[in-house]
């Protein structure tokens, strides 16, 4: 491991046009990739080129550019399948985001399979996207929602896992916490859940962008991720699910594209994945996601992970050396067990105030509850200040964050 923690950052920064700009007269220091990543030139060019050369609706017109648009979209689907080692591109359903992917599972699979006496197990560190759909469906269908708690070290408390899973039909779990950075033991959880007869839904929004992902090795049944956190555009997410599950599930949204036939007395749904893709899809965004996948493959996901472990180690060390007990980073302390998400409490400065001063120095971080209010209550805080790292960050960004913390400390001590 390099002492500096620089592996990819200095080389990759130049690929991202936005990172060349200034804010408040200073070079931008972008540390909010857990909320949304920046986009490399190749992704922007792919989307632009789509509109400039082959823009047409997909899966219908017989003319040349319509065929090319369809081909570009389906090539992106194949690329996404390859990226997460899905057995078939037919198992890749394009959604708007992870939120929609999970709502699709809750509404379609849950609507058909859950009722009184059933249980769904989720964890206290879930994003609201993997909580609220289950609240909604539980109220409608009368099943029980059970919670795996979080221990003091920011990891799941699995001491009563078997009991929680007893009689459960689904386990919903985040692969990596967007607040704590905790990497959860998905394979172990999936094996235990399967032994109990439950399916496993993985919220991989924070995982797929940062670690090599193999949906088969993880043992998941459903797995959702989103384009905009992995160098792709907003408005495009992915639900991967095993083909036989998708085949058996009723449609989610109804409309064009998702049918084989429509009569006055009913309809025949399309084959997967189109059964779940009603209406004209976000074609340019899908093409952009395909380019994002190629960009990340070019860097190599093993190198991405190595870079982030190294930079996270540098960040944890730097913050500890410079601020000691004045600054607490929530979540596991070993970089190998976590992602590059640093949720901080600094002195007694409120996160909203802290992020305001950091912004004044060009440092972009997220302040708030990070759409994880049950976890915030567990941590006993209303909000944290979160800095998150990605492929384009380097030690200079971490140093800029630390320098800006100095300024904030002085500002509020006056």
């Amino acid at each position: 491991m390099s002492a500096g923690g620089d592996r990819l950052g200095p080389q990759t920064k130049a690929h991202f046009p936005l990172l060349g700009r200034q804010v408040h007269g200073r070079p931008i220091v972008y540390l909010d990739s857990a909320a949304s990543s920046q986009k490399p030139r190749s992704v922007l060019d792919a989307m632009n080129s789509y509109y400039e050369t082959i823009n047409a609706n997909v899966h219908r017109g017989a003319y040349e550019i319509a065929a090319q648009a369809t081909e570009a979209m389906e090539a992106a689907r194949a690329g996404v399948a390859r990226f997460v080692n899905a057995p078939s591109a037919d198992e890749i359903v394009f959604t708007k985001n992870v939120t929609e992917a999970i709502n699709l599972v809750a509404r379609s699979w849950g609507g058909a399979n859950l009722g009184p006496g059933d249980a769904v197990v989720i964890t206290e560190m879930e994003h609201h996207a993997n909580i609220v759909p289950w609240h909604i469906m539980a109220a409608e269908k009368g099943f029980e929602l059970r919670w795996i708690g979080v221990g003091a070290d920011g990891r799941l408390d699995l001491s009563n896992l078997e009991r929680l899973l007893d009689g459960a039909k689904l386990l919903g779990v985040t692969a990596m916490s967007n607040v704590l950075g905790t990497l959860n033991p998905i394979r172990r959880l999936a094996d235990t859940a399967h032994d109990a007869g439950a399916l496993v839904l993985v919220d991989a929004a924070q995982y797929v962008p940062h670690l090599p992902t193999d949906v088969q090795a993880l043992g998941a049944d459903f797995l959702g991720f989103t384009g905009h956190k992995m160098c792709g555009p907003t408005g495009i997410g992915v639900l991967w699910a095993r083909a036989e599950l998708l085949e058996a599930m009723p449609p989610f949204l109804g409309g064009g594209e998702m049918i084989l036939d429509v009569r006055k007395d009913g309809f025949l749904p399309n084959h997967i994945p189109h059964k779940f893709e009603a209406g004209t899809p976000p074609i340019a965004e899908i093409v952009g996601l395909g380019a994002a996948v190629e960009y990340l493959e070019g860097l190599g996901m093993d190198r991405v992970r190595e870079h982030e472990v190294s930079l996270t180690a540098y960040a944890l060390r730097t913050l500890e050396e410079r601020y000691g007990s004045e600054l607490a980073v929530h979540g596991p302390s070993e970089p190998a067990c976590r992602g590059g998400v640093l949720s901080m409490s600094f002195q007694d400065i409120h996160p909203h105030d802290l992020s305001q001063v950091l912004d004044d120095r060009g440092v972009c971080v997220r302040a708030g509850h990070h759409c994880a209010k049950p976890l915030m209550r567990h941590l006993g805080v209303a909000a944290t200040t979160r800095a998150s790292l990605y492929v384009y960050n380097d030690t200079s960004d971490v140093d800029a964050l630390a320098d800006a913390l100095d300024v904030a400390g002085e500002f509020f001590a006056r």
Binding site: H24, G25, H350, P351, H352, D353, Q356, V357, D360, A367, G368, H369, K373, M376, A382, A383, F411, F412, R414
Partner: protein, 162 residues
């Protein structure tokens, strides 16, 4: 570009560090309302005791950033002992100042108040120390922090007269 000093005026930081009328009131006779800022997780609790149309006592609790907490503190000192009618005018004037159209540009007379009043909304209401919060408008994300306790106060008053 708006500087941090436009936002964090000395009087704001003073109210943040030494909040006035902080605590709880007995319910009843007081009425309690809770306000949430879903953006940042801030919570403000406002207690008001209204006797014969006058706010005889007020207390605020909860947790939040310096802007939301100081705004609650300044609000409490501004409304204590005043009639509900006066306070409702003060709320309108404050929210007008906190609207992007209410501050700095002037002259249009546009009013975005919830109650749809025409005119500049401020009338001849004196905002006093509350003027210190005017700089918040230059940081649009923070406007909700400044107005949280005021919206919660309106909830409490509406409940009092429900």
């Amino acid at each position: 570009m708006a500087g941090l000093e436009d936002l964090y005026r000395e009087i704001i930081l003073d109210h943040y560090r030494n909040p006035r009328n902080r605590g709880e009131l007995e319910v009843p006779p007081a009425v309690q309302a809770v306000g949430f800022n879903p953006l940042c997780g801030d919570e403000v609790v406002v207690y008001v005791d209204v006797q014969d149309g006058v706010i005889t006592d007020v207390s605020t609790g909860g947790q939040g950033c310096s802007i939301s907490q100081s705004s609650a503190s300044m609000m409490s000192t501004a409304i204590k002992g005043r009639s509900v009618a006066e306070v409702r005018r003060l709320v309108r004037a404050f929210k007008h100042m906190m609207s992007i159209h209410g501050t700095g540009i002037g002259g249009t007379g546009d009013d975005l108040d919830d109650d749809g009043d025409s005119g500049n909304g401020a009338g001849d209401v004196k905002l006093g120390d509350l003027e210190a919060l005017r700089g918040v408008v230059k940081f649009p994300v923070r406007i909700k922090c400044a107005t949280l306790s005021w919206n919660t106060l309106v909830q409490a008053l509406d409940e009092t007269f429900a």
